[in-house]
Amino acid sequence: MSPRRAHNGGRIDRSTTLRFTFDGTAMTGHAGDTLASALLANGISLIGRSFKYHRPRGVFSAGIDEPNALVTVIKGNLREPNVPATQIELYDGLTVESQNRFPSLAFDIGAANGLAGNLFAAGFYYKTFMGPVAGPLKGTRFWMFCEHFIRRAAGLGRAGHEPDTDRYEKMYGFCDVLVVGSGPAGLTAARDAAADGKKVFLAEQEPELGGTLRWKSAAIDGRPADDWVASTLAELAALPNVTLLPRTTVWGYYDDNALGALERVCDHKAHAAIGEPRHRHWTIRAKDVVLATGAFERPIVFPGNDRPGIMLASAAARYATEYGVLPGERIAIFANNDSAYEAALSLKDAGAEIAVIIDVRAGVSVAARELAREAGGELLLGYAVTNTSGARRLREIEVQPFADGKIREGGTRAFVVDCLAVSGGWSPAIHLASQAGHAPQWDEALQAFLPPAPTQRWTGAGAFTGAFSTAAALGDDIAVNEPEIEYDPAPVFEIRPSGRKSAKAFVDLQHDVTASDIRLAHREGFRSVEHLKRYTTLGMATDQGKSSNVPGLAIMAAARGLPISQVGTTRFRPPFSGVSLGALAADRHGHFKPERLTPMHDWHVARGAKMYAAGLWHRPMIYGTGGETVEQAYVREARAVRETVGIVDVSTLGKIAVQGPDAAEFLDRVYTNMFSTLPVNKARYGLMLREEGIAFDDGTTWRLGEHDFLMTTTTANAGKVMQHLEYYLDCVWPELRVHVTSVTDQWAGAAVAGPNARHVLESCVDGTRVDNDALPFMGIVRGEIGGAPVTICRLSFSGELAYEVYCGAGHGQHVWDALMAAGRTFEIVPYGLEALGTLRIEKGHVTGAEIDGRTSPRDLYLDWMLSKKKPYVGSAMVDREGLLAADRIRLVGIVALDDRPLNGGAHIVERLGEEPRGSIGHITAFCFSPALGKYIALAIVKGGKARHGQRAYVSDPVRNRFGPVEIVSHHFFDPEGSRMHG
């Protein structure tokens, strides 16, 4: 006996045959099948292996709550592990593999773990594997040796190493009402809201809308339920204010009614259409939410309850009714409530034989008796299943009389069946409500947790609220004809035969958490629900305990002698069910941070520049000319600047327009030095501190007019400085009439530096003189280059005669070309960041490597910039004792005495020993100095200036570079600045 396709019935399209393979075996199914129904139709009942004991497992549910039947879907070279077979829509060519088995699903040597089940009880790993306290396996070694094997045995499916080539998409949705779930309650809520003119989203995780009406027998308004569903859907689909979202799981309920939802756009297709994403992630902002998420059936826990062929009663009914599949030919029903009797009738109607209905209750409702009579088979009231047998699928069950919560010995009977359909009652799917609210409330009558009081704008409908009948879901206005059964279950969660050693009774099927594991947790003091979960891993598997949560709590409550209401439940957290990481990252996947390119970027690349990532920007590092090393290139470039003229792209510098009547006053407050005294058309170097008196950023600020300044910042800090200024203007000094605007992207900039810089400008600038009188050091002029308006400031980072030329970003390349053309006579050389760094190191100018958020202005010997005439941001705290301490690390220069390259991040020590010890500081930047002909560096060293002239050592153990250095002044080259003033 095995499951098989029913001769007729179901909503599948029997005229369409789809081919698929399972573990390499070719099979067929029909359109409308899930993988689970198709496997059952092919007589396959062994589908997976459990996590710990590798027990054979089959289909347990028909939905998202499936713990057992997990497979890996293979598409080309991509693998998607751990997909419940119940969630996979069959398509032609579907390829799946079973998982967590070796060498094969039918014969898995991991099953040997089951023989030592008592050894592997909950928490066993905390008590062993510590290994010896001494010897070669001391410390963590023995554990890590064991762990290697544990890791290989654990895990479920195998993910691939290939990059996922599918596209994922992100969507924002805004609606008046989001209805979650499209069963009778959801459809009614959507229809009502739509009729009120509301903009409605209706999200359904299954491919077809209709919920339980797709497989439950009920007549609505005097017609079959599916007629009613079809006409309601047609009505909704025709409305412009309704969006239907099938295959869309609402998984997270975040603040202010923002909900995350995953739409599986083409998992059910062999190939995506052009432009179609695999998944679409929705952020839905809903004014109101209707939670019509239904309920999950839960099992009863009993010995041997995990064999393939044992499944939820509603699932069995659904396979028969929706998919036209008989989960068995001879079926037993085991229940503590009436709903399974409906399932029994559905199974009988589909062609199965109902062998027996076993109910723990002594008496059942008239409706249930009537259903049992119609379904046929024996009705055993006051009985329970106490054991099962069958190797890889169910063959026989044993039942015994049951009363007052206990098995009564004797009277054991056996039934040969190939399917056992179990119902232990229903748990409303309150997950989203719990994410968005308080603790769920236990209901004694329903023996279930009901949704908490909302803290956000949602209402509940249907089974979600604990009203499980179709009539209740549809409301009073719609006539429903369905059996009037009792959903209230008897409070029986576990069948526990006493006296003899019984088979394992599983609570969490996927993680192999047994009822005795829960009692062990209790015995060892892990009694709170959170300890229970964490100690036994109950409910932490991929199904997230949808069917195991309540039975597990009930068993713990019984062990503690407390009602379930006092034991409580763990809080539900997002996601409601697994969400693909690809969908959450969506189109940002792989490039979530924008790349910033200067207007001259293409030119740099065309000239062979090796580009360097500086934050989001790309900047030329060196312009390689055939066969040069990096060092040869930057030395050539830097030497050209010192000897003739060079040009560098400085467009990346942060640029902020600071404008308004109080702009000068504002700058006086945010810079340590004075700006109100700066004449128009002059620039000044400025230093900013944080309030703590720590250096924050530096740059030049140009006074373009009385109330008009252009501030430049370092490339790295442009955004932070902008936010810093805005904060002070908005929050601290709202009285200042100043406006700041980021203009970084509006201006292109080029610095022209070297003894011939002025000649270059003279030969291309129109409309202004650039000689020393017209354009003195730190002066500003405006003119044109090649017809494009430019602003030129004479300032120098390199220590040479130098000019920064700014123009509109759109003119950047044009002006750059004109400067290059004008420089040809002087053999102008474009230079990159390495040469720029070399020039500034020779001059001892600081940048981000030294202004690293920990250094004070004194550490950098910039105390000359601290105005005594006015307060500024940082002035009150810059003199704290910690910032004046003698042992602070301060800026120095370093010269390698062994003529070998130094490294950024190398440390400085007073002496070299066996082991690296006694760091007194570190190198922030290094270069080969063409001006000095030596390897030099800037460093931050304890004591700073006091060490000038001392011998020390570079100690760079991570790069194995050690050697003698001399500590010198950081002003290596032209300390008087005669060259730039010339």
Binding site: Y126, G155, G260, E524, S955
Partner: protein, 419 residues
């Protein structure tokens, strides 16, 4: 109580596991103790353990408002490392690392500390230099650090995006081989059992509602389980520091409470062996022994005591993860949760006597609390027992802010969300 061992496991297995005893007692509060430790998380429990073990002070109660280990000790991404930059931090976390390396033996409880290595990726030459600076700083304090090149990283971590078109090309990384992961809950339970075995009372569901004072001096607490007096009252409540200290009338501490989200994927066969961190943003990922990928990123970035975050950060974290590992798009997120972090103003902790007489304060752990658990308890126990800090926590004072002796590991200043 019986020692845990393979033999005891075997013996109990044969008797159906019916004879195991509770891992720790559930005593009723006594009227007074020598020391009360408020906070039954990792730090509070390890403090109690080391008070008993190192200082012979066993008349100790640990007060926990909920269930033991309900805070950040069970909500983190389980990473243990000591790859810090600043000497005060390196020394402290190195001490912690040494305690970790013997912790399972010490506690007779397998905390599953697995030294699988923490690898910080670098994507720019400047980042390589920063990593070198830090690695060298560690090496100069006796720690372990290895700077890896691109090829070595590629061999070590298959699946990383090493393509030419990667937005954040991997240039190399800094590896701390001795770093790794531990089973977070086991740390709380192991310390609880260890402290209990030495006589410490662990009082769960015992929420502090106020402090008993004699003048300035703190002489005990009122709780939901009655009044309890003590010679010394120590506070180790991490994210709840603001709330608890307010009960003592202290409402201005250099602490902000922020939420940090953490994420776990479904179980997979071994895929990522190390803890790997991303340099193009802020992300750390490892794989648990059960097979789930465990990862996290930045704080949500606003003050909160709610143990839950919001969606934009979730999307940011996933984007960073996939920028590193583009093969993970088909893997599913299984769980997420939030922990409340006690973010300090320089990113470094506070372990100090005071601020009131009779009181001791341990807080400011930012992201770093889990790996600090052993050393935090060890140093705090010393501080409580001796009335003054051990050299290892001498720098972690409360007055360092006013004095300007900051331990600003990230150089971000008094903006806690950036630490």
């Amino acid at each position: 109580m019986a020692e845990y061992s393979f033999l005891s496991l075997l013996r109990n297995a044969l008797s159906g596991n019916e004879d195991w005893k509770p891992a720790w007692r559930k005593p009723d509060p006594r009227p007074s103790y020598d020391v009360i430790v408020i906070g039954g998380g990792g730090h509070g429990l390890s403090t109690a353990y080391y008070l008993a073990k190192e200082h012979g002070i066993t008349n100790v109660a640990v007060l926990e408002k909920g269930y033991l280990g309900s805070g950040n000790v069970g909500r983190n991404t389980t990473i243990v490392r000591s790859n810090y930059l600043l000497p005060d931090n390196i020394r402290f976390y190195e001490h912690s690392m040494k305690l970790w390396e013997n912790l399972s033996h010490d506690l007779n409880y397998n905390v599953m500390f697995s030294q699988r290595g923490v690898l910080n990726l670098a994507h720019t030459p400047a980042q390589m230099d920063e990593h070198a600076r830090r690695g060298n700083a560690m090496r100069h304090e006796g720690g372990d650090a290895v700077l890896l090149g691109r090829e070595e990283v590629a061999r070590m971590v298959p699946g990383l995006d090493m393509s030419a078109s990667a937005r954040f090309p991997v240039l190399g990384g800094l590896l701390q081989p001795r770093a790794g992961t531990a089973r977070h809950d086991a740390v709380a339970w192991g310390y609880a059992r260890g402290a209990d075995r030495r006589g410490v009372d662990i009082l769960e569901n015992c929420e502090v509602t106020g402090f008993l004072r004699e003048g300035e001096r703190v002489v005990g607490v009122t709780t939901t389980r009655g009044e309890i007096r003590a010679k010394k009252v120590a506070v180790a409540v991490a994210g709840s520091t603001g709330r608890v200290m307010k009960l003592a009338g202290i409402d201005n501490l250099p602490i902000e409470s922020h939420v940090l989200q953490a994420f776990v994927s479904e179980s997979l066969k071994p895929l990522i062996n190390q803890v790997v961190t991303f340099g193009g943003g802020h992300l750390y990922v490892s794989q648990s022994d059960k097979g789930g990928l465990v990862f996290g990123g930045d704080l949500d970035g606003y003050n909160t005591y709610a143990q839950r975050g919001n969606l934009p950060l979730v999307e940011e974290v996933m984007s960073e993860l996939l920028a590193m590992f583009p093969n993970l798009a088909r893997v599913r997120l299984l769980r997420s949760w939030g922990g409340v972090m006690d973010m300090s103003m320089d990113g470094s902790p506070i372990i100090t006597p005071g601020p009131l007489p009779g009181m001791f304060l341990n807080c400011g752990w930012c992201y770093g609390g889990f790996k600090a658990t052993p050393a935090s308890g060890w140093c705090f126990a010393h501080t409580i027992a001796r009335g003054e800090a051990h050299p290892l926590n001498a720098a972690f004072t409360l007055d360092r802010f006013a004095r300007g002796i900051l331990i600003d590991e990230k150089g971000q200043g008094a903006t806690p969300k950036w630490h």
